[in-house]
Amino acid sequence: MTEGLLTLYNQFPVEPPTTFSDFHIEVTPPKGLRRWIRPQSIFVFDGEIPFKPLAANQAFALLEWGMNWCIYNHAHHFLIIHGAVLERNGKAILLPAPSGSGKSTLCGALMSRDWRLLSDELILIDPDDGKITPLGRPVSLKNRSIDVLRTFAPGHYISAPIHDTAKGSVAHMKSTSDSMLRVDERVAPHWVIFPQYMENQEATLTPLGKTDVFMALVENAFNYNILLEKGFVSLARLVDSITGFKATYGSLDQVITHIDQLADESGG
């Protein structure tokens, strides 16, 4: 796990203890026998253990999942949507999608083509001004997408896969320096694209109506219900300020060409 942190997070500063920490977390071996016999890792959130232990070698994946859990369970000062978000020329593209749609693969691929990564999992929208707060953490890749991105983005570091997790094999793709160093730069949303990978499918971007975008965002939101009226107002403003598409594609190259075109047309 230490290796994962040192490599994948190497350009994040180590803050002094006088900086405010939002969450106190640990990933450690449990006490007792399971430290040695079929060793495990547990995620500890400020003295509490919110979920079941995993095998010891899954420690880094557990850390990433645990960090996400902390955010979507507590950070209700944001409207949080499940999805990836990247930026180019000061404009953010949101890729909201459930697991298995290929969003992380597309996210990693876009990052390798000079989009700045804000987050591959959690879109944090500020209800006051609609801007998105970056996390800059590594992209979590699952199963086939690991090899897909190794081929697609050979210059980028991807960690050795951890096998047999609850989500299959998991590896992490390191964020670009730009993504890590500019983690304080919030961005206004500009496009929302709902990605759907479909084998051998010609890449198409289909424009979506506002209502469809709204409803699809609600479906992918973590805490829309918790934000009550504020959630509705922020989401309505978001939908008003973006153009929405559905993307179906069988080739990353093709769909990225379409997306880049979109970015260039908008005067970027």
């Binding site: 203890p17 006088t18 900086t19 405010f20 920490s21 939002d22 106190h24 399971r34 079929r38 495990q40 400020d46 003295g47 509490e48 079941k52 232990p53 995993l54 095998a55 507590h74 950070a75 209700h76 000062h77 219900n225 918790i226 934000l227 009550l228 504020k230």
Partner: protein
């Protein structure tokens, strides 16, 4: 002892937070979160117009906690309307207890309250009808096995918690405030006779104000679980401030405690409101003096309760916190049932837990 906990200080003397360093704020947030008092910290600072003096990351956490609280308030109100429909179908009346009661009755603890479940009080002869109707409306029992089932049905003052199959809300249906096997006996008919209907919700009932305080007290001081004890003590403080103002009010509260046989828990509530929250109620301890335990017992209980009433966070613990909390756990159980029932029950519970751990961890690994 550990009464210097940052959170307790911030809640009692919010002005002091204006001088907090970042690490002090961080500690305060952590302790508040662990004791389900983050929303209370937020409302306390808001009431004193101090929120804007907190550093921005702290403000974010406070805002998030307020948002979560607002959501839970709305959710609990919705859920209560569903429960009311089910219980009306059983020809019975909804009487809410604790958190849900504070919310629906619009009492001051509700502004800062996090809810985990909804507690109801029903007449025992209606219990079966109510349970069936709750099932018909989508709630199902959470009891794990025959032992669990028997433990609740035979000895407890509630049936096993019921969870809604779609909305996952959890309700505890009680037919008394204390277990059947408990040393203290309360006649639920006396409570049900005095219930009040809620403003804007005449169908929904809650206990009379004094009964609510007495229930909170018996629940806090006779129970073995002290994980949210500080939160519960703040709830009692709010209720007392809201409803027991004059010395006549105090007399009525004490008389009611005597009628219900809850003088001892009331004594503890007043004592620890004074000792832990520095509430100016010491004079009323005098009127309750005859209901106090012996000086020796009290000295021991002080050590246990004062520790148990600290935030449940490692930074509030001292050398004796572990043993104090464990003693409270045993004490709570001993008050629930006589030793001849308690020992086999605890043995069974720990055996079950051990087995679960062994099997459970194998599954997860």
């Amino acid at each position: 002892m550990t009464s210097s906990c940052t959170l307790v200080e911030a809640l009692l003397q919010p002005l002091k937070t204006t001088r907090y360093s970042i690490p002090e704020w961080e500690l305060c947030i952590r302790q508040a979160r662990a004791s389900q008092l983050l929303a209370r910290l937020a409302t306390t600072l808001e009431d004193e117009q101090l929120s804007q003096h907190a550093p921005p990351p702290v403000q974010a956490h406070l805002l998030a906690a307020r948002q979560h609280q607002a959501h839970l308030s709305t959710a609990i109100r919705n859920e209560v309307t569903y429960i009311e429909t089910a219980i009306r179908a059983a020809g019975a009346q909804v009487v809410l207890l604790k958190g849900a009661a504070y919310e629906l009755a619009g009492l001051s603890p509700s502004r800062s309250r996090i809810y985990n479940d909804i507690d109801l009080l029903v007449a025992k002869d209606k219990l079966e009808d109510i349970e069936i109707n709750l099932m018909l409306h989508g709630w199902s029992s959470t009891s794990q096995d025959a032992y669990d089932e028997r433990y609740y049905r035979q000895w407890m003052h509630e049936i096993p918690p019921m969870r809604h199959i779609e909305r996952h809300s959890l309700i505890d249906v009680h037919h008394n405030l204390v277990p059947e096997t408990s040393a203290i006996r309360v006649d639920p008919a006396k409570l049900l006779k005095e219930t009040r209907s809620c403003p804007n919700n005449p169908e929904i009932h809650v206990l009379a104000p004094n009964d609510m305080i007495l229930h909170s007290a018996v629940h806090l001081f006779n129970d073995g679980e002290f994980d949210h004890a500080l939160r519960d003590l703040f709830d009692i403080r709010d209720l007392v401030r809201e409803t027991v103002r004059s010395s006549d009010d105090w007399k009525r509260l004490i008389t009611r405690a005597e009628e219900l046989g809850l003088q001892r828990p009331l004594y503890y509530a007043v004592r620890y409101l004074n000792l832990v929250l520095h509430e100016e109620v010491a004079e009323h301890l005098d009127s309750l003096r005859t209901h106090a335990p012996s000086a020796t017992k009290l000295a021991l209980l002080d050590r246990m309760f004062i520790r148990g009433l600290q935030p449940q966070h490692a930074t509030c613990d001292d050398f004796a916190t572990g043993i104090a909390r464990f003693s409270l756990y045993i004490r709570g159980h001993a008050l629930r049932m006589p030793l001849r029932l308690l020992l086999p029950h605890l043995a069974k519970k720990s055996r079950k837990r051990l087995l679960n751990n062994l099997i459970g961890t194998r599954d997860a690994g």
